[in-house]
Amino acid sequence: MKRVLIVDDSPIIHNLLRKVLERNGYEVCGDAKNGKEGVDLYAELKPDLVFMDITMPVMEGIDAARFIKEKDPSAKIIMLSAMGDDAIKEEAHSIGVDIFLKKPFDDYKIVSAIAKIV
């Protein structure tokens, strides 16, 4: 079973995304509420995949994704954000984010994205 780390400051997103992942056969191995926690939990848990929000306190998702990719270039990261303009997508891809998804999401959007990279 593939293990997933969720990094988002919204407990609602953790709740909704966990339901989607678990009913589609994935294990949520960690929940981080900001980018710093996400970086730390990634190093500790070594998940197969990370879902990363952008706007978060302490450390934003773009910076967290950059840290994770620098330490582990093989890390699989899906950015999941309310924002999705061309500039921010370009920045995410430039640091190696694998897929950029815009909220809201449903099972199909999440499962299709995972299937492309894992």
Binding site: D9, S10, P11, I12, I13, N15, L16, T55, P57, S81, A82, M83, G84, D85, D86, A87, I88, K102, K103, P104
Partner: protein, 159 residues
């Protein structure tokens, strides 16, 4: 206020609420300049943004509409609007609507706008005081209750 700035928020509200909760929202007028304070319908969510411009989005909903949206998204009924899940869902709704509208504005006008974290307020007829910046409100209806969308912009500043 320039319709190019306000109309994306209406379109995003209609599209996102429909996508997330299958609730149809219909505007009952056009955006009108808001000069007076607002007496809340009962559930308000506020999110600010900044970039080349700065501003805020205020969603104000009747409790019946807010409860329907939360129930549809979460798959559970929430009678207590002070429940953290209920309030969190309303914050996420404003985040997603605001994010969608800013995505459009950034792609069309290169405003480089970025969202801050949302805030949610519960309380019928709570007075929402409008600071003296340019602000416009549109009223919307649905089968489950009314809502208003208030958008404010002022020049300049990074969050």
């Amino acid at each position: 206020m320039n319709p190019q700035l306000t109309s994306p928020f209406l379109e995003s509200a209609k599209n996102m609420i429909n996508q997330m909760a299958s609730v149809q929202i219909q505007e009952s007028d056009s955006f009108q300049e808001q000069q007076d304070d607002i007496a809340s319908y009962g559930v308000s969510a506020l999110v600010t943004f900044a970039g080349v411009l700065k501003g805020r989005l205020l969603l104000d909903l009747e409790p019946s509409l807010a409860k329907e949206i939360v129930q549809q998204v979460m798959g559970e009924t929430y009678d207590d609007m002070k429940d953290s899940t209920f309030m969190g869902m309303m914050g996420e709704l404003s985040n997603i609507i605001g994010g969608d509208a800013l995505t459009f504005l950034n792609n069309e006008q290169s405003y480089n706008l970025r969202l801050a974290s949302p805030a949610v307020f519960i309380g019928k007829e709570m007075i929402i005081s409008i600071p003296k910046i340019q602000s416009a409100t549109i009223h919307c209806t649905s089968r489950h209750g009314n809502m208003r969308i208030n958008v404010a912009f002022e020049k300049g500043g990074v969050a």
